[in-house]
């Protein structure tokens, strides 16, 4: 029961299609695990079940020993799972600072009336949130952009902001859905450093989906490979690299030739 996240035999069926079949996963606190597989393998579906965006057909999801499947996404976030999205989903018309501030709202204890009338308790909460956000943005290297509209940032920084926003919910576990997608090698490099840094500083457990093999092999301690909804392999990056089934299913025939 010392696992932070324990997923057992999670299955998602859409009509006759089984997107994810009996997916199991254990994450110990502080681990950095990668979920890989070809397009359409069910990786994002697995994420969506863990974060509550999809209700699994069968199976169990335990977060620190507590059953969380079927709960609303905002409830799951409040219990310590944050995420980023495959296609960036920032609040594009809000500023960078506001994007991060949104993540503090669920902790606000003052009522909306005390917010409207600016009562001391609300003002204290608002001030703390603002200070924490500014610190976080500075740490993520986005401090100088606080007043910019999120939608106007360059792509790499939008990805960074998404991670900052997820961190602001103060998660125990963070799920990153293709964080390096569309990045150039230099950006990928700095993203790797960032992930390692935030994991250390915030004591995070990280689960990520990624197609960039240098990235995955470079930072993940353990990998899990999905294909057509089935888990076909599991192990350290080295083990996965030499696994016949993975090479067949994922890396394709070309690599054998």
């Amino acid at each position: 029961m010392s696992d932070l996240l324990s997923v057992t035999q999670l299955t998602m069926e859409f009509g006759g299609l089984t997107a994810v079949n009996e997916f199991s996963l254990e994450l110990r606190p502080g681990e950095l695990v990668g979920l890989i597989g070809p397009n359409g393998a069910g990786k994002t579906t697995a994420f969506n079940m863990i974060t509550g965006n999809l209700v699994p057909t069968r199976g169990k999801i335990l977060l620190a020993g507590r059953l969380i499947n079927g709960q609303k996404p905002h409830r799951i976030t409040a219990q310590g799972i944050a995420r980023t999205f495959q296609n960036i989903r920032l609040f594009t018309d809000l500023t960078v600072l506001e994007n991060v501030l949104v993540s503090f709202h669920f902790r606000v204890r003052s009522s909306f009336l005390s917010a409207v009338f600016g009562l001391p308790r609300y003002r204290r909460e608002a001030r703390t949130a603002l200070e924490t956000c500014r610190l976080l943005l500075a740490e993520m290297g986005l401090g100088h952009l606080a007043g910019e509209k999120a939608g106007s940032l360059p792509y790499g920084q939008q990805r960074r902001l998404e991670i900052a926003r997820a961190l602001a919910t103060r998660p125990k576990l963070i799920l990153l859905d293709e964080p390096a997608a569309g990045m150039n090698p230099a950006e990928t490099e700095s993203l790797m450093e960032l992930i390692i840094k935030i994991r250390r500083e915030y004591g995070l457990t990280v689960l990520l989906i990624e197609h960039d093999m240098t990235f995955v092999m470079g930072i993940c301690e353990r990998l899990k490979v999905l294909d057509y909804g089935h888990t076909i392999a599991e192990g350290t990056p080295q083990e996965i690299q030499n696994n016949e089934r993975v090479i067949q299913a994922y890396l394709g025939e070309r690599h054998r030739a």
Partner: protein
Amino acid sequence: MEGGRLRNQLLTLASVGILFALLYLASRYLSDYQVRILNNGAIFITLAVSYNLINGITGQFSLEPNAFVAIGAYTSALLTLSPAEKEISFIIEPIIWPLSVIQVSFVWSLVAAGIVTAFLGFLMGFPVFRVRGDYLAIVTLGFGEVVRSVANNLQRVTNGPLGLKALHNYTNLWWAWGFAVIAIFFIVRLVASSYGLAMKAVREDEVAAEAMGINAFRTKLLAFTTSAFFEGVAGGLLAHLITTISPTLFTFFLTFNLLIIIVAGGLGSTTGSVIAALLFAFGGEWLRVVEEPMSIGSLQIPGIPGMRMVVFSIALILLMIFARHGIMGRREFSWDWLLERSPVSRVFRGGGK
């Protein structure tokens, strides 16, 4: 920073003071007709600002204000009429018991209008926010029709199609504008708070907002209920301004006008809603000119009733072509913005720092 905030608060207070001084002058020197337009303007401001909270800020395209205004108007009217007056009005079927004997002062009837409407809005929020987008619009539109239909048929409460007549004209400049100022204050502060930020996050991307721990349903419900409260009170004010209410007053046309106002002002901008509400209330009257008989040279044009709606529509079309985001877009008025652009800015900045 703190000095700037104090300065802005003082400026706001001063402008409210100036507004009421102007209203005092208006109440003394303007004709009844002009005062009435001013009252209308204030009520439209209240309605537009609160409708914008749900449609513009929270991004939930809904079409129910006519229902909320109707509920507020009936609640308030039934409470200010005296038992004797109600007995005379309800000629077909007598009014039901508790309402037949209750009479409260105008201010309490407005409070009741707000609370009853907010409560019904709250209850209505549970079914309607199960859907979103176009479906939400249709469901809320349906709700508006249901309320109108109930008003038509629940004779022992609403007096049916006959409506309620001979209400006292309690609504004056002070009530109408005083309440508009309260509504603007409340909604501006709400939008600027963490709760307002949550509403905007839901508008921008509901899935992402939920993933950041925001309870989207509760956020929408808060916007909706707040909106209902202010629209209900505005309904009470409207009833005691026009002094006669009947179900035909609260058709979809009312909602449609408000929708035009908030879109023209800029969806999501409270400032825009205020400006557009004023333009709508005053513009509608100014445009009466085009309905009068005119002579251009030797050409005699007889007055064409309805001509002002044509001009009005053309103005809207032009707005949608050339300024699709409305007058303000999503921008808001702020003192900092104004002072930066005014010639006296240096004086203020010198004093502020």
